[in-house]
């Protein structure tokens, strides 16, 4: 479980995060949603330690990340896996080498064992045909799946996904979302997904935090998100015509049901 308490972050006196409190639970896909510029990426970068928060507390299973020394932080980071918006695969390595990289760095297994583990992870994301290909030779969706395989190769306790669906078509996005959720349940990881894709919100949002202008505006899950009373959240969700229509149909159904009763 990851707990965030009163987290603030400023850049040159400009407050980007303004005292966020949140709890991300084990075995669930926790979503951070919000418009572009709402502070989602900064929030996630603070959680993983790429940015130093200005103030606040960050607890990984009751271990305060912000007061840890360098060695403890490195140790904790080995329990993390991250999928970046751009996949961030190493261009000079093949798909298999990319997945083997964390194992080469931190595992004491033999080469055969490391290779077997990497192949297992790639098979888990249905990429057994791409072992020897380079990142530049595979599609965006496949790159994301390699990034997932690399992130889970060391059996992390915490998985972070920064806009995993950006640049992907809806069908591939669905595959990636399902994969993230399946892996989260399978390994009982604490998964945090940063997204503004409403399909992901409805599909895998077991816990959702909505950020707006650096503040936590709403918290709930996919079942509650459509009926939330927060104006800012509604503005965000129903900016899409599709979801506007869904809302209208739902309201129409309720009206008909009420009339019949």
């Amino acid at each position: 479980m990851i707990e965030v308490r009163s987290l603030c972050k400023s850049f040159d006196n400009k407050e980007v995060l303004r005292g966020i409190d949140a709890t991300f639970e084990d075995g669930k896909t926790n979503l951070i949603i919000g418009q572009s510029g709402s502070g989602k990426t900064v929030f996630m970068k603070c959680i993983v330690g790429l940015f130093e928060p200005t103030s606040g507390e960050l607890l990984y299973d009751n271990r305060n990340f912000l007061i840890m020394d360098k060695k403890e932080k490195i140790g904790l980071r080995r329990e993390m896996g991250m999928i970046f918006q751009s996949a961030a695969l190493f261009d000079s390595m093949t798909v298999l080498e990319n997945v083997m990289f964390p194992l080469n760095m931190f595992s004491n297994d033999t080469f055969i064992e490391r290779e077997a583990r990497a192949k297992f992870c790639l098979d888990r994301v249905n990429l057994s045909e791409a072992y020897s290909k380079y990142p530049g030779e595979i599609s965006g969706g496949m790159q994301k799946r390699v990034a997932i395989a690399r992130a889970i190769s060391l059996n992390p306790k915490y998985l972070f996904c920064d806009e995993p669906n950006s640049g992907l078509d809806p069908k591939t996005s669905l595959v990636i979302d399902e994969l993230i959720q399946d892996i989260t349940h399978e390994y009982c990881m604490t998964t945090i997904v940063n997204t503004h894709d409403m399909n992901s919100v409805m599909g895998i949002g077991e816990k959702i935090i909505f950020l707006c202008e650096g503040l936590k505006e709403w918290e709930g899950n996919s079942a509650k998100v459509m009926s939330a009373e927060s104006k800012k959240l509604n503005d965000f969700i129903f900016a899409s015509d599709l979801f506007k229509k869904v809302k209208e149909v739902e309201q129409e159904e309720i009206r008909v049901r009420d009339a019949l009763l």
Binding site: F84, S86, A88, N104, M105, F106
Partner: protein, 246 residues
């Protein structure tokens, strides 16, 4: 002035991270071999080509412009050797390599920065500065004396070519000059200078690449800045090293 001090401070802090204990020596050693091939072996061609032509041009220039009946015939060979040994093969060659190798390092690390590959390394708990920069630095410092040797050797071959193919003087006159009053310390001093320059090229260009912020345009700017800074630093340190080593 303040910005310069700030940049130097950041550079020293980066070096502090570079000179930390590698996580897994086996992986670093493999990376070192790769960098020796990429930065060193792949630069051999350009070093050989430039040295061959410069050696030949120096010989022709000296023969045509300096040689006079008052000077002994070995002066051309002697002067060519001294220029190649003392300045060209160490300093000027490193200046040229700062363009090729320096921009390569800055753009490679800069691209890794903007595509979040460095962030990915950090998240894995890897010291990205050490993993990316240390093998490049060691590789270039190990291979630079070999490139200097190539440069000296092929510069002299270039000088011989002017005798064999252009016929401006006899090969034996050139040979007498090349062997005249030879001081082996000059080779050692060239190696020392080149190792120092290799350190400048690898770390300064890595600094520019590592601190890129933005996109591809900024990677290009970092690459240009690294070449300019490396060139200025090489010329400046050449002045100091020449005074110290002689």
């Amino acid at each position: 002035m303040f910005k310069g001090i700030q940049t130097f401070g950041k550079y020293l802090m980066l070096l502090g991270r570079v000179f930390s204990r590698p996580e897994r020596l086996r992986v670093y050693f493999r990376q070192l071999i790769h960098e020796i091939e990429s930065l060193g072996v792949n630069s051999s061609g350009i070093v050989i080509l430039i040295s061959l032509f410069i050696g030949a041009v120096i010989t022709i220039q000296i023969k045509l412009n300096i040689q006079s009946p008052w000077m002994p015939p070995w002066v051309v060979g002697y002067t060519t050797r001294e220029i190649m040994l003392l300045e060209f093969s160490s300093s000027i060659m490193c200046l040229i390599l700062s363009g090729k190798v320096g921009s390569n390092i800055a753009s490679e690390i800069g691209t890794m920065r903007v595509t979040q590959q460095i962030d990915a390394l950090e998240i894995m708990g890897i010291n990205s500065a050490c993993y990316l920069i240390l093998p490049k630095m060691v590789a270039l410092m190990l291979f630079m004396p070999i490139l200097v040797t190539f440069s000296i050797f092929f510069g002299i071959i270039g000088a011989y070519c002017t005798c064999w193919f252009v016929g401006i003087m006899t090969a034996s006159d050139l040979e007498t000059g090349l062997l005249h009053d030879f001081n082996a310390y000059f080779i050692l001093s060239s190696y020392v200078k080149s190792i120092f320059f290799a350190f400048i090229i690898s770390t300064v260009s890595a600094y520019y690449g590592y601190n890129v912020e933005g996109g591809s345009l900024d990677v290009g700017k970092a690459s240009t800045n690294s070449v300019v800074s490396c060139s200025v630093l090489i010329l400046f340190s050449d002045l100091i090293l020449t005074k110290l080593l002689n």
